[in-house]
Subunit: 492 residues, 2 copies
Amino acid sequence: MEKQVLGGLQWRINVPNGMSKELDPECSCYCKPWLALKSLVGGLVARVLRFLDKAWALGVSEPKKVIHGFKVGIALSLVSLFYYVRPLYDVFGGNAMWAVMTVVVVFEYTVGATLSKSINRATGTFLAGSLGIGVHWVASQSGEKFEPIILGISVFLLASAATFSRFIPSVKARFDYGAMIFILTFSLVSVSGYRVDKLIGMAQQRLSTIAIGTSLCIFISMCISPIWAGDELHRLIHRNMEKLAESLEASVANYFKDNQSGYPSQEDNSKKTQAYKCVLNSKATEESMANFARWEPAHGPFNFRHPWKEYLKIGALLRECACCIETLSGCLNSEKQGMEHLKGYLKHASMAVCSHSCNVLRELSKSVKTTTKSSKLYLSVGEMKFALQELQNALKSLPTQLILEQVLASQANENKSTTKKECAPPVMEVIPLATLVSLLTEIVARIEEIVDGVIKLAELAEFKAFNEEKIAQNQSTSNNQRSDNPSCETEP
Amino acid sequence: MEKQVLGGLQWRINVPNGMSKELDPECSCYCKPWLALKSLVGGLVARVLRFLDKAWALGVSEPKKVIHGFKVGIALSLVSLFYYVRPLYDVFGGNAMWAVMTVVVVFEYTVGATLSKSINRATGTFLAGSLGIGVHWVASQSGEKFEPIILGISVFLLASAATFSRFIPSVKARFDYGAMIFILTFSLVSVSGYRVDKLIGMAQQRLSTIAIGTSLCIFISMCISPIWAGDELHRLIHRNMEKLAESLEASVANYFKDNQSGYPSQEDNSKKTQAYKCVLNSKATEESMANFARWEPAHGPFNFRHPWKEYLKIGALLRECACCIETLSGCLNSEKQGMEHLKGYLKHASMAVCSHSCNVLRELSKSVKTTTKSSKLYLSVGEMKFALQELQNALKSLPTQLILEQVLASQANENKSTTKKECAPPVMEVIPLATLVSLLTEIVARIEEIVDGVIKLAELAEFKAFNEEKIAQNQSTSNNQRSDNPSCETEP
């Protein structure tokens, strides 16, 4: 209901009990913009507060990222000394700018990334600088008329080729930044060379400022609470194993427990059940970390030539397993209705397979985490296989059990003289159980592949033997305790 | 067998037929380095040739990337005119460097990415420049002693905060580059301001060169064969649907066909079966494309506020479906042995479900590709559901059929008077079929979710209605024919 009252709008709403209620008339023209401004400012403040809240939460959960921020701050303050300290400024002058720029652009979160970018930057600058000076010399020999033409064409051709090369996967993975710096330096050198004659001196100064910037970055990133890409990859892999175990456990437990304790338990578990999603999305992070880890010197338990590629293989296997768990949890969720009485027969055996599989995954995770060959691994795998066999046997004996139950039920019915008679469960009702068994079988098969992958890694990376395990375990627990955090770590 | 002969090594190998054969003695010391050099050069040449081969293949399969290279070349050649043309150089001088730098850094593959980087760069530079000048002014007012201290502290604090902010997901997704440029410009301005007094004039010049560089980039990337992030995302999504259909078809066909025609067919199909892997790995690309697409102006069938987020939702659903297909193909591969005679009963019904599902996926793909509401979609979905019902019925009637067959077999056996008697198939043999049915059911359920997603997209994006379909189809076929290519497009 709407009524026009003397130039102002009046709103009236009908309340369910039959009465109608008059709403406050609209504000006058003066207070409109004021209200709009107020809501705008309020909205902005709320957004800023929410943003700060998020930032604070991130800082608390991952203090390493805050420390990284401070490290960059320190590096920049140090490099700006080039401007403040008179003797340094006298040597480098305006070229000190390149040191600042290098620090901003090259300083990355992990040591490996910083090293890779530094090497890329230095190599790209050096190559492009020498080529630029060469082209500039050739152009200057060919007369004033042809000089800009030669320079223009060379810039066009080299920039096109270098830009295209950045799409080639092998270049993209390792030298993307170097190619960009190559284009940048080449155009700057060959073009600015048209005016500046002291090219070689300038190139020397620029290279030395870049060298100073990169070495400062490398020094700070390696000395002040270093974050190694290798460590991150290592941690990602063993935490992903734990996540898979968590997911698998939660989804199977959900399926069997849900109907006794009601919905709340499902919601409690939903976060655990979804843990596999992190695993599914970790491919890009794993690849970039493995790429950066290659540049890193020996650190902690990792040698210079640590087999990082094996981590990628294990990561791929983990993702395949996660896929299977995803399907399992999907199937279990969609087929929850009916056949409650059938579930009971396989509950024990299924839970056993699940818990033994999780044991294997956790054993693998521990083995990777502590870089020791696990003494219990083969035992756990054996138990897992045995449990699977038991489950398959339980499914095999299901028809017999069902017939028995049916006979008992019909006897009971006859005793009670009721006409209702339970019929044999149709094959459709067994399908969900068969699927469960089949998917668990598949998951076990994939876990076995992961076991093989980890064994290969243990061989190549020369993991410590059984008897050294305990010492290493104690050490690594104290090392890793502070660095572990429970959030999804696919995007560091 | 090894024998020392007068200072040189002689190698002898035993050939299977009992004779032993003398190998060529080792080269003298003179020819060793020569051989090493030869093999080194040979290896290098081979590597370079392989690299060029790869680059050529990439160029042939995706000419758009070659064109992008040329576009960058053109932009750089144009921007270097600032150095060659005397009046321009007189205005901008050394600051022309910033235009070159802007072009190199800002020019990206898609229009959206270029726009996003340009806006980030301009905003970052402007904000940091004004803040830097402000801080510089405050510092200069506080006396010569405190000036470096204030500047140093402000650089440290702002650089730390901005670096940390780059880890916050919302900033990382949209303003990562802007934050970096902010740090860079702020340090350069506030620090170099210590020496240079003509700060404001310099800032103006720098901003105008950056404006020239970015507008040149935007102009070239939008006018010369533009590559829209929105288009790429759109294409990725509908091609992923086709890939899922291909994979599903190939893996089910493999399962049922393999044993009649032998192994070769499996190898032929393996590429098709693996097509889902591209879908699984496309998350990062989809997200960055959707991010860039938001910046793009209206183009082709897409408005400025095209619902790009819906594409991400559909992408996630596609990945879930791909996961299911992954598991299906894994299960089918690992359970190929045995129960050949059982397969026959469900072959027809399974193939029907599979082909109808693929029809739905292809119909969806066509609908998205042509941005028209499909007229046949509901019909196809109905057929798919009906086929699934048929398959489930077939599985239900399996026991009856098996008993019938058993009776017939035993009759035949009695007629032939043999003692061998086939026993009833144990439940274990039905499991693979039950799994197949169950997974197909799950896949159908997920495809239905995709259907819902596409219907929602069609509503939000105002897809054309049925009757306009034909015209649009003809248009888009001619438009898309040249841009479609069969490789995995997750990493453009």
